[in-house]
Symmetry: C2
Subunit: 372 residues, 2 copies
């Protein structure tokens, strides 16, 4: 066990402590510990609380001199499995590393949490422990998507927290996504687009047309630019930074993008090993192709961020390697240090007040219409 005092996070000004669930990823705790080592050696302001089986974690931590004095291992006897149902974990998950990682954040020992585990369970326990941010109807999961734009990434939300979203939820996703993108990528005025089946005004479902009106009206308070409807082909586009959609569509789109990238990569590999000539070409083209792959495979872009909670929770990809875990920790650190949640909450309240006022004045004018 590390000898770092638990108060260290608060002790040093500018230091951020990230609570890391070391169990539950496909690559096992070693990838997580290696990822922590990468992170702390790059970032002197980072402290880590590591949750899991200390009999497994202590020896892994001991291997990295970089982790000495920077990581505290907290023993948790139990692990949330990938097929555990969220409700089950909420009732019986108190001894799991996931639960304890979030409990440490709740009690103020850490300012953000990272886990590679079961997404549904992580969202359920996060909501239970951290509670929703004031004014938020529904938390959302925002993913990063490789893009042609300056930052190299766009963000899309919701990608699976909730299978339905009405116009007010879509408005909140726009506000939260813009706040997240601004703070993660230092972009003062992100561009927000609403996912639809066409860019013309008359297309799409009723709640999406309604949401477009609400989002356009909220652009000033939310400090974003609303670019209107975008289509599936625009998700990696450079004309938008934040793509707003419901969790069903977002989840299907995310997995379709991942699946398409995997299919292309597999077919390229097959073609480039089909003949000796192709194999030579393939070997020569290996490095540039790897660079392209690294930029485009959505599963390598790590860090689904839970938005709308009292605190930052980053869901690292289940199959993330050490570099993936390290980038998820970096994202959690950046967001926790920015303190964007409070500002986002204030703006959300202001926007929802405006929506409520408009609805009231609309129903007033409907009410008086008959009398005039």
């Amino acid at each position: 066990m590390s000898d770092a005092p638990e108060t260290s996070a608060k002790g040093k000004p500018g230091t951020i402590t990230v609570s890391v669930d070391a169990m539950g990823g496909d690559q096992g705790p070693q990838a997580v510990v290696d990822g922590c080592a990468q992170s702390v050696s790059k970032n002197p302001d980072l402290m880590i609380l590591l949750h899991g089986d200390s009999a497994v974690l202590d020896p892994l931590v001991a291997r990295h001199t970089a982790l000495r004095g920077r990581v505290t291992v907290h023993h948790s006897p139990d692990t949330v499995k990938m097929d555990d149902k969220p409700a089950q974990v909420m009732r019986h998950g108190r001894d799991t590393s996931m639960w304890n990682a979030l409990a440490a954040q709740r009690s103020g020992q850490a300012q953000a949490t990272v886990s590679c585990g079961n997404t549904g369970a992580l969202m359920a326990v996060s909501m239970l422990q951290l509670r929703k941010l004031s004014g938020v109807h529904r938390p959302a999961i925002a993913c990063l998507w490789p893009s042609r734009g300056k930052t190299g990434f766009n963000t899309m939300l919701d990608v699976g927290a909730d299978v339905r979203a009405d116009e007010e939820s879509l408005l909140q996703y726009a506000m939260m996504g813009a706040a997240y993108f601004r703070n993660a990528f230092n972009m003062p005025r992100p561009r927000v687009g609403l996912l639809n089946v066409g860019t013309e005004d008359h297309k799409g479902r009723a709640e999406i047309k309604e949401a477009a009106i609400l989002i356009a009206q909220a652009a000033e308070i939310g400090q974003f630019e609303f670019v209107g409807f975008v289509e599936g082909g625009d998700i990696p586009s450079e004309r938008v930074d934040v793509i707003v959609t419901d969790g069903f569509t977002g989840n299907v789109a995310l997995k379709t993008g991942e699946g398409t990238a995997r299919l292309i990569s597999d077919l390229l590999r097959r073609e480039l090993t089909a003949t000796p000539w192709a194999m030579i070409a393939g070997l020569l083209a290996l490095r540039p192709m790897r660079r392209a792959k690294k930029r485009t495979d959505p599963s390598r872009v790590n860090g689904g961020v839970f938005l709308g909670l009292n605190g930052t929770v980053v869901k690292s990809h289940g199959s993330a390697d050490a570099t993936g875990v390290s980038s998820a920790i970096k994202l959690a650190f950046t967001l926790a240090r920015s303190g964007f949640q409070e500002r986002m909450s204030d703006r959300l309240s202001a926007v929802m007040d405006t929506v409520a006022e408009r609805q009231m004045s609309a129903s007033d004018s409907t009410g008086t219409e008959g009398q005039e």
Copy 2:
């Protein structure tokens, strides 16, 4: 103008006439005429009625000796533009090549129609002219998707005819998709999957869980195998042939897949031209990479089929080249010759009767519950 008699289609037994809208594609009428020439030279049983501006089409047709006696040009003074609204075309589109292509099918001069034009207008005019097949709630658009499976393609529907689908519509899509896949790819028992955000029973929206029950019950009459829920990543999978979803989700998934393929292709090109060394590798790898690209770029898989109408209509991709147009014509020919629509209509009616009976007996048993 060609001298082929208009009765030729019906004159020769085994001959199929396809009505082709030559206008409205991004590549212009030349790509369409070249595609027709490719088709007729490969297929002795194919006749073509070509609709569009005869001053443009006649010289293009005259260039191909293969088209002599096989193509009849029908003059249409007007063209549906890509941004014309469907309602507008339904009211004022009587002089367009799209309208006349479908009118020829309606009057029995042709057995199928192919158009590269505006999808919304094509669906609207198709419904107006051909009418829905008996028993069909809503027509659907089925696209082909490059896959790892034996046929090299999966089909997904609906990809944009309707932005919503209830459980009965999803059931009908399953029946129609299975019938289409069976006849297009000669697969006696296609495997049908229902698109969802997870493969576990408890996941997803209410209408999707309900649809899963209806589809499972219809598998025997529909002569397909139901594999249950599939996710976005399974769309190109070899464990499913037909992916069922609503038109909003399907359209977003289709365009996301296309966009991801384009992004990867662009980034590969950029990386393989970045340094002289990479360029050499890129030149050597060009042919295997082109082969992989040809298999994976969804926009090259040509032919969105409208299902649930009295007749076969194929929407060719707007940017299709001659080969793309030719493959759309081949698809239309194959489907028209199979005569699958009538068999599909019979099975649909049988399934919908079963659903209605179950609903009646369910409401009966609810009604008597209180009295027992």
